[in-house]
Every structure is written in C-alpha cells, then in structure tokens.
C-alpha cells in the first residue's frame, strides 16, 4: 500500500497562502495572550488551591457556592469536570486565598464547608486515609484481639480499597462495606462510633504557594528558552547556521500557535502542558531535520538547479515519510486525548495541536525560510550561500 507516490506539489509556490494562514493563527493567539485571556496559567504557575471532588449524587453548584460563601471564601471558581454523570466538580481557589503561612487553610475551609451537618467529633469516612482508619481500629479493637498491627492493617486496607477501587472513592453509607471482601462485620458495625459518611470524596488537591508559582513560571520560560537554544546550537553544528535559525523560527511559530490556542480557548496551561510543549519543540524539529537532511543531500546531487526547485523536490520526496510518521504519532496522541482521562486532557490536547502544527510548519515555514534567505542574499548581490553544509 502507498499513499504518496511521486508527488510533485509546488509547495514553495504556495508560500503566501502558508504565510497568511500562519499569520492569522499566530496573531489571533498573540492577541488573546496580550489583550483577552492572557496566558491562562494553571494552578501550578499562578499559585492557589485546587480541590477536585466527587459526589455520591448530582451536585448542586449553587448550594456549594453558597456554602463556600458562608465559609468566608471569596475568590473561587466552581466548574464541572468531565461528563455530568461523573458527579465531579473542581473548586479553584485564587492565590489570594492561599497564604504561605497557612498553606492548606483554603482546602480545610472547602472541606469543612462541604461537610455540612457533621456529627460532632466524628471523622469523615469518605475522606479518611488508611492510616487514620488503622489507628482507629487499633485503638478501638472491635475484634477483641488486642492491637494487632497486621490484622487491623489488612482490615483498614480492605476498607480503603473497597471505597476507592470498587466504589470510585465515595461511599453512600458505612453499611456498603458489608459487601467488601476482607472486612469483618464487627469492624463495619463499629465504624459509626467514630466515623460518619459524607456525600463526597476528595479526589485530588493541589496547593501551590505564591512563591513556587512565580518560581515555576521563570523555570518554565527558561526551560523553553534553553530548549530552543539547544536546538539552535545542535543544528548550527550539524548544518549551516541558517538551518538552525530556520528550525528555531519554525519551532517558535509552533509554540506560539499552540500556546495561543490554549489562550483563545482559555484552557489552563499547567506544568504537564509545558512538558508537552517542550516535547513538541523536539518533535517538530524532527520533521524539519528530515526535510533539511534531504535538502542537503540533494544540493550535492543537483548542483545546477535552483534552490527553490531542490527544496520543492526534497519536500516531495520526504512527504510520504512526513505525513506517515506525523499520522502515526498523531494516532497515538489522539488515543491519549480520547481515552487517557481527565488528568491528561491538557497535556494530550497540546500534543494533538502541536503535532498538526509541527508537521505543517516543517513544510510550510522552515523550507521557505531557507529559500527566502538565499533570495535575499542574491538580491544584495552576494553570491549564493554554500548551503550544502559541512561534510559529514
């Protein structure tokens, strides 16, 4: 089977369309970054508190809002996570509610606000850890066997496993545990003495102090910069410097459009999204390098032809490979985006967009820059640059 055979598309002839396309997307993204949504930093970069909760019933966002209001919290956002049937909500507390002195105060307030009608002095079974449950069992000794670390450890583990792995993190009542394997009836019966069962379980909490946030932002910017510099140096070393410049401009274009897309859609740019972008810097370069490698090879073979013809030929020769590998990588990333779950959504979205843009740009941006540079030199009356690069 073969999709592309002896294609002969005049890519360079379409460079003005490409330029227009890239400009529109870059500028739209840039506009949004500067004047609209700005860069929607995720909680890891802007600081703040993120509490991800699953309820045992359909949550009433208005009720949650007024409970949080009553708890004295002001700067928060509530948003549904995933499908409505998941009963999941994300509570996002601004960094203004997160002080370095008492980092987890916001989280505690949220949990307290959600635990309405808490029986005095009781602990929430849905949000108790293995250690808490084990300590309780050792203290209380419902099986009358003395503080047997192993036995009660196993019982506590069975309770936690049943809650988290079978019931998805939320129990409706302690009686449900009777169906759990490895939990003694006497243990289940004794739980209500100390525990009550709330209507939610905390799935994930992220608290980032303001200091870390700004520190991470600097680091992310630096890491991106180092990545680009690394590429420039490596490509300058392997090819002529203009190849390095063309590749870095291309990658910068990809990064700009990807970040711009996140800004336009106002999707949080978290640490993992930055990781995806750094990966894309490497990946997008792959495609560019493959085309450049071929250009370099062809320059040696076709000394008499115009550079633009050589470049066109090289792109066409590698087109099959470019589209295929991009398609295959895209396939895996799409699987990640569709089936990889909520936590990886931003990460896989960045990869999905980045791979599309990265493939496009290695054809539409990188190669034309080489030709444009050549034309510019000829216009200035200098002799054409020796594009063949160093012998390897």
């Amino acid at each position: 089977m073969e999709f592309f055979r002896n294609t002969n598309i005049d890519f360079l002839g379409k460079k003005w369309y490409f330029l227009a396309f890239s400009l529109i997307f870059s500028l739209a993204g840039l506009y949004s970054m500067l004047f609209w949504h700005h860069i929607p930093w995720g909680v890891d970069f802007r600081g703040g508190t993120l509490v991800y909760v699953r309820f045992s019933h359909t949550p009433d966002e208005n009720a949650i809002r007024s409970e949080l209001d009553r708890a004295g919290l002001r700067n928060f956002k509530i948003q549904r996570l995933g499908a409505a049937s998941n009963n999941e909500e994300l509570i996002d507390l601004d960094v203004r509610e997160t002080s370095e002195q008492a980092l987890d105060l916001g989280k505690l307030k949220i949990i307290q606000a959600l635990e309405t009608n808490t029986p005095a002095g009781k602990t929430d079974l849905n949000n108790a850890s293995f250690l808490t449950i084990k300590n309780y069992l050792m203290d209380k000794d419902p099986l009358h066997i003395g503080p047997d670390d192993q036995k009660y450890g196993a019982e506590a583990q069975a309770i936690v496993d049943y809650r988290d792995k079978v019931q998805g993190g939320v129990l409706n009542s302690a009686d449900q545990l009777q169906a759990a394997s490895g939990v003694d009836r006497a243990v289940v019966a004794s739980l209500p003495d100390v525990f009550f069962v709330s209507d939610f379980g905390v799935r994930n909490v992220e608290i980032i102090g303001p200091q870390v946030g700004s520190q991470l932002r600097t680091q992310a910017a630096l890491a991106t910069l180092y990545s680009l510099l690394g590429m420039l140096v490596y490509l300058g070393f392997r090819f002529e410097w203009i190849y390095g410049v063309a590749a870095v401009v291309t990658v910068f274009h990809d990064t700009l459009i990807t970040v711009g897309f996140f800004s336009l859609r106002n999707i949080d740019i978290t640490l993992t999204v930055i990781a995806a972008i750094l990966t894309l810097i490497g990946y997008s370069n792959n495609d560019t390098i493959v085309v450049f490698d071929r250009i370099r090879e062809n320059i040696k073979l076709m000394r008499r032809e115009k550079l633009s013809d050589i470049v066109n030929r090289s792109i066409n020769q590698t087109l099959s490979r470019t589209i295929l590998t991009a398609g295959l990588t895209f396939l895996t990333v799409l699987a990640l985006f569709l089936f990889g779950g909520e936590v990886l959504r931003g990460f896989s979205l960045a990869l999905v967009i980045g791979i599309l843009i990265g493939t496009y740009s290695s054809i539409a941006i990188a190669a034309p820059i080489l030709v444009a540079y050549q034309d510019w030199r000829i216009q200035k009356g200098k002799r054409p640059a020796a594009m063949a690069g160093r012998a390897r």
Partner: protein, 543 residues
C-alpha cells in the same frame, strides 16, 4: 547460518530475556493475575498513580546561620571582656537578609591585632574587615556559609525522615529538591489526610533547659519595669503558658538565661508519661555528657529555678531541689495524650536545625490514581494496537519487522523501569510517564518509516533488494540520530526542570527513544538480513 548471524540472534534474545526479567522477575504463576502481580511488584508507581501526598518544603536556612551568628556574638563579647578591650556593641545588622554579618562597634584601631587573633582562634569561620568610625564587620566565609546551609538541609531531611518513619508511613521519599534552593521534596504514598503528619514534620522541637531568672510577669512591660527598664546582660524574655493560678487565661513572660544548660542535642530518649497530677507529660533522659553538664549546673543552682523551653516557649518552671543528673520532664500547657506522644516522638527524632515553610502540597486520592492507571493503560493499548495494525497493512512483510521492533522497544522500556526497582533506584512510572510510553510508540515508529520509505525509494530507482536495504539503512541512519538527539535534548531539559510526574515523562521518553535506536536499527536490520538470506536472487521484498 554463519557465526555472525548466530551471535546477533543470541545477543537480541539475551537482551529481550534480560528486560523481560526486569518486568516480571520470575512470576509465581503464568496466569493473567500472576503476571499482573509480578508487574506491579517490579514497576514502581508514581504518587499520581498510587495515590498519596507530595510536599515541597522550604528550609529557612537563615535560621541555622542566625544560631551560629548569635553564638559568635556571645563568643566575641566574652573574649573582648577577657582581654579588656573596650567595645560599644555587637549586633547582627540584618538578620533577615544577611544573617551571617556581625557588626562590632566602638573598638579602636589599636586593638586590631587582638581582634584579629580572637577571630582567627575562636571564630575561624569568620572573616573580619574594618570599616570607618571604629566599626568592624565580621562575615562568614562563603564556603563556610554554603556548607552550613547545606548541612542544615541535610539535617532537616534526616530529622524529617526519622519522624516519618516513626509514624509508620511506608516507602516515603524525602530528598533535596531543585538546585541550591534549600528545598525538600517529601512524598508520602497512601497518605491523603495528613494534618497530624504535617504538624509533626513542621515541629522544630528545639528543647532547651535554661536558668529562670525571674517571672512570671503578665506582660513584657511589667518584666522590664521589674528590672528597672533594662534587662540584665545575657538574659532574655520568653513567653510561656498562662500564669499559674491566674484567673484569666493569658500569656506569661519569664526572664531566662541566654545560655542553655542543656539542649535537645543532649537528649538520649524521650517518652510519653503522666505527671504527679495525672496529666500527660513527657519525660526525657540525657546522654552521659549532657547529664554531666546538667549535674554541675543543677549542683551550682540548688534553690534556683530552671525553665524548660520548647521552641522558644517556656513550658514550665520548677525549682531545683537537688542536683539532677540525667532525668527531666516536660508538662504543663494542657497536653493531650496524643500531643504528649507526638512530642516525645519528635524529641527523639531530634530538632530541626531551622524552621520549615510549606511551599506546595499535592494530594492524589487513591481512587483518582486507580482511574488514571485504567485510562492510561487503555489509551496506551489502543494507540499501540492502532500503530501495529497500520504498519502491517501499509508495509505488509516489513510491517511485521516494524511490529517486532516496536514490541521489543516496549519490553526494553518497561524492563528498564523494572530493573530500576530491582537496583533500588526506583524510577517511578507516572501518568505522564505512561503518556511518554505511548509517545515513544508513536515517535519510535518514525525510525521504521524513515528506513522503509527510503528502501522503497531505492527499490523504485531500480536497486536490488539487498542493496536497497543497505542504502535505506545507511541513508536513514544519520537522520534518525539527528531526530533522536533533538527529542532527547528536549527531554533532558524537562528532566532537569520538572518534578515527579514530569520527570517520569522525561525518563520514559528518553529511555524509550534510546531503546528505539537499538530496536529500529539493529533488530530491524537483522530481521531484514535474515529475510533476504532466505530469498532467491531477484525475488521481491515485501515492503
């Protein structure tokens, strides 16, 4: 079959077996469950998959520097008095930002020689420079300063580890985080409500026993008035628990000696107990040397009062009835039984050399971790199968070749994670790490495509299959190296700058691509050669 062929086959089989052992070890049973259990024994899961808590702590290293500087000030005053050198004042001008600077005022230049010898002999960690107006600045030698700060972090890590171990948290990670920012990363698998753990970790637990010189006073002003407006030299005012017998609850102030008779360093053991009133308390015993010092102190001060000070707060004041050698107790402050237990544990684990600030806290509930594993594995399997099928359909015979290489790539990558556990390095598989595995599949197949497309091209140009294969590999090789280097450069930067999950991603991606160099080039070439060796001359290659 020539010898070279057998050698290559042997090394490929050996490598596969080696990494398979990394994944499974020797499984107890070959059933699906047995294999799954073997995998989960060998592949260490990151916190985002196993559930648990991660904290990043800032060690306030300046605290430790301040302690040394305070000590230097005392030594300096002492020495100056001994040598009968006049001085106006010794202070720390800026304990917040430059805690290592000590300012000495009012010493004339004629005393220079004496001053230099004091610093050289008694404060070798300091440099001294003279400023105008009879002022001198002592600043710590830069190497000493970094050393001190690093030691503070190392000691904090050790102390926190002792405390967490005593709480029975399994497999915690406690290590320095970042470069030279004096931060500590703490990972507690399986802990998702850790209020108490956090209190225990944060407690400085600096225990000191000092001579009580006066008090209790209801306020600082009252204490000052009592002493005629000026505190006696070498004493300081500390807050304590409420005034004994006072009707209203409120803080009380005590005047205590600046120098401690014994401190937390001299503790041998501490246990929760109850005092004579049946209240929870903590008893401690001292080391031989500490006990000796305590004995001579108490012998000299029979009838005087001593104060037990914890984290700069007076816990209790008692009079010395007779010399004490090696026992003491802390009570007062209405401790609960749990608090007494925790305090004794914290005292046993040693004091933190500096206070600690929380910078970041992340808790992943175990239910989310379990969901993430499920989603990640599902995405990986779907992505992988899609790629495998595509390669088969598109390249037919050569597709098998690519698929074998991809599967081997996966085995090597997972085996590497398994071997890291066996070796005790524990490179954890995180959710982004699973994404890295998926991405390795997608990017790894790039090498195969590059080679195959080139072979097809060479065949089209009329080359024979053996020479097309040869040309295809040699031309594609340079490009493959280039593309791998750029991706690995990105991943390396990620590894340096990322934490937990992101690091996991960088690791799997890097190692996956390295393994890909081996599988997509060496193994794939081997299979081609094998296929070609079985073909007749001129027979077509399935690609």
């Amino acid at each position: 079959m020539n010898k070279n062929f057998l050698l290559k086959l042997g090394s490929i089989v050996a490598i596969v077996l080696f990494f398979l052992f990394g994944i499974f070890g020797v499984p107890k049973s070959l059933s699906a469950q047995g294999l799954l259990a073997a995998i989960s024994d060998h592949i260490h899961l990151g916190l985002d998959l196993s559930g648990g808590t991660q904290l990043i702590l800032q060690v306030q290293v300046n605290d430790a520097v301040n302690v040394v500087a305070q000590n230097a000030i005392e030594v300096l005053k002492d020495q100056l008095r001994n040598r009968k050198i006049d001085f106006a004042d010794v202070t720390q001008p800026d304990p917040q930002n430059n805690p290592d600077h000590v300012l000495l005022k009012g010493v004339q230049a004629s005393a220079r020689g004496d001053l230099l010898s004091i610093v050289q002999e008694r404060l070798p960690e300091y440099d001294i420079t003279s400023d105008p107006n009879d002022t001198w600045t002592l600043s710590m030698k830069p190497s000493m300063l970094t050393d001190l700060k690093n030691k503070a972090v190392a000691q904090a890590i050790q102390t926190i580890r002792n405390r967490i171990d005593a709480l029975g948290v399994s497999e915690p990670t406690i290590e320095e985080h970042g470069q030279g920012q004096y931060q500590i990363l703490v990972q507690l698998p399986g802990i998702d409500d850790f209020g108490r753990v956090k209190d225990i970790m944060q407690s400085t637990a600096m225990l000191e026993i000092k001579q009580a010189l006066g008090g209790p006073f209801p306020s600082e002003q009252a204490a000052l008035q009592d002493k005629g407006g000026v505190l006696p030299a070498d004493s300081l005012l500390l807050q304590g628990h409420s005034m004994p017998g006072a009707e209203t609850e409120g803080p009380a102030w005590y005047l205590v000696s600046r120098v401690s008779a014994v401190s937390g360093k001299d503790l041998r053991d501490a246990q929760a107990s109850t005092d004579q009133n049946g209240q929870p308390s903590v008893t401690f015993s001292l080391t031989g040397e500490g006990g000796q010092r305590f004995y001579s102190f108490t012998s000299a001060h029979v009838g005087d009062n001593l104060a037990v000070v914890l984290d700069n707060k007076v816990q209790e004041v008692a009079s010395i009835k007779e010399p004490i050698r090696d026992q003491g107790s802390i009570s007062g402050g209405h401790m609960t039984e749990q608090q007494a237990k925790d305090l004794s544990m914290v005292l046993r684990s040693g004091a933190l050399p500096a206070s600690i600030k929380y910078l970041q806290e992340e808790t992943v509930g175990p239910s989310l971790g379990a969901d993430s594993i499920r989603a990640g594995v599902r995405a990986a399997v779907i992505g992988m199968v899609a790629v495998l099928i595509f390669m088969l359909v598109y390249y037919r015979g050569a597709g098998i070749n690519a698929d074998v290489a991809l599967i081997m790539n996966l085995i090597i990558l997972l085996g590497f994670l398994g071997w890291s556990t066996i070796a005790g390095v524990n490179v954890a598989l995180t959710l982004p790490g699973i994404a890295g595995v998926i991405l390795t599949v997608g990017m790894g197949v790039d090498s195969n495509v590059l080679i195959f497309e080139r072979i097809r091209e060479e065949l089209r140009n009329g080359k024979t299959p053996p020479s097309a294969v040869d040309q295809g590999f040699s031309h594609a090789w340079v490009t493959i190296v280039d593309t791998h280097v750029t991706t690995i450069v990105s991943a390396a930067i990620l590894f340096i700058f990322g934490t937990g999950p992101v690091k996991g991603f960088a690791t799997t991606l890097t190692f996956g691509l390295l393994a890909n160099l081996f599988t997509a080039v060496f193994v794939s070439r081997f299979i081609f050669d094998w296929v070609l060796s079985r073909k007749q001359r001129g027979e077509a290659l399935s690609i």
